[in-house]
């Protein structure tokens, strides 16, 4: 019987995995090791700034295990969404770590590097050509959104990976990728069903998160056959159950039945899940429907600099008057910096009242104490510091009716009290781009490492 074995070591490269799980995963004799390194979940800062949300030490640790194992077994290692956001600086960062590991371990391999950057001028032209559209509840794209984005990266489908495999790559390092494609590429290259391969990839990209108990830092195995696939966690203390696997199909997706991706959508209307052993689930019936080829383009832009302070308040009278105190502090701050109007924004997060849900909080009742985060975002670092500092000292000494504690309203846990968070970014591009060919903007470059 034809079967392909896939090892997904961890949910995100750098999240780690236990040695024992990895060894057990390797004992299954995987035909490919694949790992997703990215996510847009941690917010716009990482794509916008070109930084990674996982530490270099943690990524190097995982890559050392993966490169060693892949070269020992002589199987491909596929890495998608390098450096978290998969744009140029993220790809270079991960490339640098791979080179360092190869040198230290004395291993050699043929590396394919696939970049996912979209040139600003290319996207503008595409926009005027009508090849760009909003993805879901996203505003229409403007020239300014494109110009102001620091980096633009598109999520590649399986085709650039196929090109890398055709070219004899032992290790594939890809920029921003559609998560399931990182896992589905090798099986599709081997002739397996695309719908099943992509659905398997959708589960494997989060590794043992789809197991019970779930974990983002443990290995998951995939076994792909001609008309079904099976998943089983490598760690014997976890199980894959019909519930855990079916529930994961919902995870982070808008619609559980139709999962759109590059070049088409995964259709799960006929998908069936079956418990085949205590720890293994079989899945069949998933199919892929080809559609005009589009990819998702992501971008973030810098809006200024952020400074915050953290304080507690334990005075019931202060807490009782908090809304009017905040309004007063805002008014005083805006008045004090009125010549900078429109260049800064002051915000308050009141933990213990509605810090998590904001205006949607069904019980906005403060308890006996509240945690306050004051946040200032401004066009310049100096202005952000000035606004935050003014708001902090104004709130500390703000007078209100019935005030007893006239020495100060806030308890600061730290000195210094104010924290420079750094540059602040927002998402500026989240749009679908039509491509003439799946490989159009994803060049594959080969290099011989360590030889």
């Amino acid at each position: 019987m034809k079967q392909l074995t896939l090892l997904s070591p961890t949910a995100i490269l750098g999240y780690g995995f236990p040695d024992s799980s990895f060894e057990r995963g390797i004992s299954f004799g995987p035909d490919v090791i694949a790992v997703d390194a990215g996510s847009s979940d941690p917010g716009p800062y990482y794509l916008g700034s070109g930084k990674c949300f996982v530490s270099r030490v943690a990524v190097k640790r995982d890559l050392t295990y993966l490169l060693r194992a892949a070269r020992t077994l002589r199987v491909p290692l596929v890495i998608g969404s390098a450096g978290g956001s998969g744009a140029k600086p993220h790809l270079e960062w991960c490339h640098d770590i791979i080179m360092e590991v190869a040198k230290e371990e004395g291993i050699s391999f043929r590396l394919a590097v696939i970049s996912a950057d979209v040139q600003h001028s290319y996207l503008k032209d595409a926009m005027w050509d009508g090849r760009v559209k909003s993805l879901g509840p996203v505003p229409d794209l403007s020239e300014a959104d494109i110009s102001e984005s620091t980096y633009l990266a598109a999520q590649m489908g399986i085709e650039p990976f196929l090109k890398a495999l055709d070219g004899g790559a032992d290790v594939i390092l890809a920029g921003r990728s559609y998560d399931p494609a990182v896992f589905a590429a090798f099986p599709v290259w081997k002739g397996y069903n695309k719908g099943l391969a992509l659905h398997l990839g959708k589960i494997l990209e989060c590794a043992a998160i789809a197991a019970l108990p779930g974990s983002g830092s443990d290995c998951m195995m995939g076994f792909l056959e001609e008309d079904c696939f099976m998943v089983e966690p490598a760690n014997t203390e976890r199980r894959a159950t019909v519930e855990s696997v079916a529930a994961h199909t919902l995870y982070e997706k808008s619609d559980p039945y139709l999962l759109p991706g590059p070049g088409g959508e995964l259709d799960l209307y006929k998908t069936e899940f079956e418990q085949v052993t205590d720890r293994r689930v079989a899945v069949k019936g998933s199919s892929f429907r080809e559609q005009p080829y589009t990819v998702k383009v992501e971008g973030a832009k810098k809006i200024g600099f952020r400074v915050i302070t953290i304080a507690g308040a334990r005075d019931p009278r202060f807490i009782e008057h908090l809304d009017e105190i905040i309004a007063g502090v805002e008014e005083r701050t805006i008045g004090n910096f009125q010549w900078e109007k429109g260049k800064f924004k002051l915000m308050f997060h009141i933990y213990g009242k509605n810090g998590v849900l904001g205006e949607q909080e069904p019980h906005p009742n403060a308890g006996h104490e509240v945690g306050i985060v004051i946040e200032a975002v401004a066009k310049t670092q100096e202005l952000a510091e000035a606004v935050l500092g003014f708001a902090r000292s104004t709130m500390l000494h703000y007078g209100f009716p019935g005030r007893l504690a006239t020495a100060g309203n806030l308890a600061f846990p730290y000195s210094p009290s104010d924290f420079k968070v750094g540059e602040a970014y927002v998402f500026s591009v989240h749009h679908l781009l039509s491509l003439a060919s799946p490989n159009e903007i994803f060049p594959v470059i080969f290099e011989e490492v360590g030889s």
Partner: protein, 112 residues
């Protein structure tokens, strides 16, 4: 009865930076079927709970394979915009925890 008594999972999470998705997984297939038959969760109810127009609810669907209900809504603001208070969208489920639902006639002593 309360929704929390019928569910094994009640969660929210970003579905991309512009959408928030709610998953409710029922504790067993029988409960799920009753919930689905009575349509105890739906777009109008989610809109009311989160105090948003119903047009912000992009999907509201029952998913048989996972005994689950899923609703996806427009995010209050794009992830990470000024005023954000939950980057991952992972703690927006609380309004569902208080929800009282009716499973219809015979829900207490169902022998189906």
């Amino acid at each position: 009865m309360k929704l929390v008594e019928l569910a094994s999972v009640i969660r929210t999470k970003n579905a991309g930076p512009f959408e928030l998705t709610i998953d409710v997984i029922f504790k067993d297939r029988e409960t799920y079927q009753l919930a689905k038959n009575n349509n105890i969760l739906n777009a109008a109810l989610i809109a009311e709970l989160y105090n948003v127009p119903e047009s912000d609810i992009l999907t509201a669907i029952y998913f048989d394979p996972a005994c689950a209900f899923k609703a996806t809504m427009k995010r209050k603001m794009p992830c990470g915009d000024l005023g954000e208070n939950d980057i991952y969208g992972a703690q927006q489920h609380a309004p569902l925890l208080d929800l009282e639902v009716k499973l219809g006639d015979g829900d207490e002593h169902s022998d189906s």
